[in-house]
Homo-oligomer: 213 residues x 2
DNA sequence: TAGATTGTTAATCGATTAACAATC
DNA sequence: TAGATTGTTAATCGATTAACAATC
């Protein structure tokens, strides 16, 4: 496998889409796929797909195409979703509970270990077998259970503060749902989700289409 | 204002970020901002910010910078979030309820009119003053209330089918949280959120950082 | 073998950055 | 006015697409 140097973010963000469509194909009993067929499914050009994949090595075979199962596994390995991750969720409101209940999450090895909140009313409530714990227990829990990833579902006012607690106790990956840009050190992976921005973008395209009628 | 031709998606997706940071500045009593200061906040280059804004007209003043309040309003207009939108949510599970309860949503003029589900157990339950209605009532409700936007929070198996119902009753904007790519006609704006893909991307960067240690 | 389709290089396109004249 | 900072053009950079030789 070609040892990949600096891969652009755009490439990385296309990989999960390949992964998903390959899963769909396998579910439909399709074992073999060409870049052309993947192009039809994903909407990316066949050329781009081959370029993307060849950043990580030659997974295909000339004259044949790609083995769907093998390609999916390889992409899974590249993305790092062939491993188990121990996850905690901070903020057990609507979004926190939605994440905790989301099944697709578990299927790919992301294991929710606990939820945390500071609202006494929800402490002790159970979400999918997980008792909601008090925020005070956060540092100890992270260290004892070797947590890999923290999901921040708190109000934006405290999100950075929570992130600091998570990282100072050794967490190296943060999935942030608060509508802010959380800042972390260079050794920590951060994904700011920003549903707001997604909605505003939708509003823009909606408006554009209305205007061109 | 320069009548904007074809603006790239990348530009559009930066606008909400400007909008948000301008709001923060105003809240802190800052009325004036330079592209340089916006660069510091957003992480984009000052040059890029000026380019982006000048796609839509000259909102600044040489030697001074931008009036934060005015610029924010102009970006709001460009995005189309200066209007009210009537929204329905289809699928009243965790994600649907989270969206319905999300306050930031209301503040910018997106008004949730109703939630729909087909699970008899949740019918009649109230989420933020909205009774959960039966899916059967969907077409009539959309037409009677002139709904602008539909949020799809159903399982992926039925998401496309729901989208078809929405669009055939006149909805022109769909915000999709099911982990699929919903296909719609050219007159409909669609935003596929894909939290899965966001998570996988995070896994990739987490893994990369671990490896370079 | 002939046909198909990848892997990979080269060409193109578009987006970002740099530079600076305009001007407040 | 002098200083600051935009608006805008030109240069650069990177990403996408096209093309085709390699090869299964």
């Amino acid at each position: 496998m070609a040892k990949h140097g600096k891969i652009s973010d755009a490439v990385i963000r296309r990989l999960p889409k390949y992964y998903r469509y390959l899963g769909d194909l396998l579910k439909n009993g399709v074992n073999r796929v060409s870049s052309n067929e993947l192009s039809r499914l994903t909407g990316f050009t066949a050329s781009q797909i081959r370029q993307d994949l060849n950043n990580f090595g030659g997974f295909g075979q000339q004259g044949y195409g790609y083995d769907a199962k093998n390609l999916r596994e390889e992409i899974g390995k590249i993305l790092g979703i062939n491993k188990k991750y121990k996850v905690i969720i901070v903020g057990a409101g609507n979004i926190g509970q939605a994440v905790a209940n989301y099944a697709g999450f578990y299927e790919e090895g992301f294991e929710v270990m606990a939820l945390f909140d500071k609202n006494p009313k929800v402490l002790g409530l159970k979400i999918r077998d997980h008792e909601i714990k008090d925020m005070d227990e956060l540092p100890q829990f992270i260290q004892e259970h070797h947590i890999d990833m923290g999901v921040i579902c708190t109000p934006k006012e405290v999100s950075q503060e929570i992130a600091d607690i998570l990282t100072s106790n050794g967490i190296k990956a943060i999935w942030n749902f608060a509508p802010t840009d959380i800042r972390v050190g260079n050794d920590v992976a951060i994904e700011n989700v920003h549903m707001n921005e997604s909605l505003y973008t939708l509003a823009y395209y909606y408006k554009s289409k209305q205007e061109t009628k």
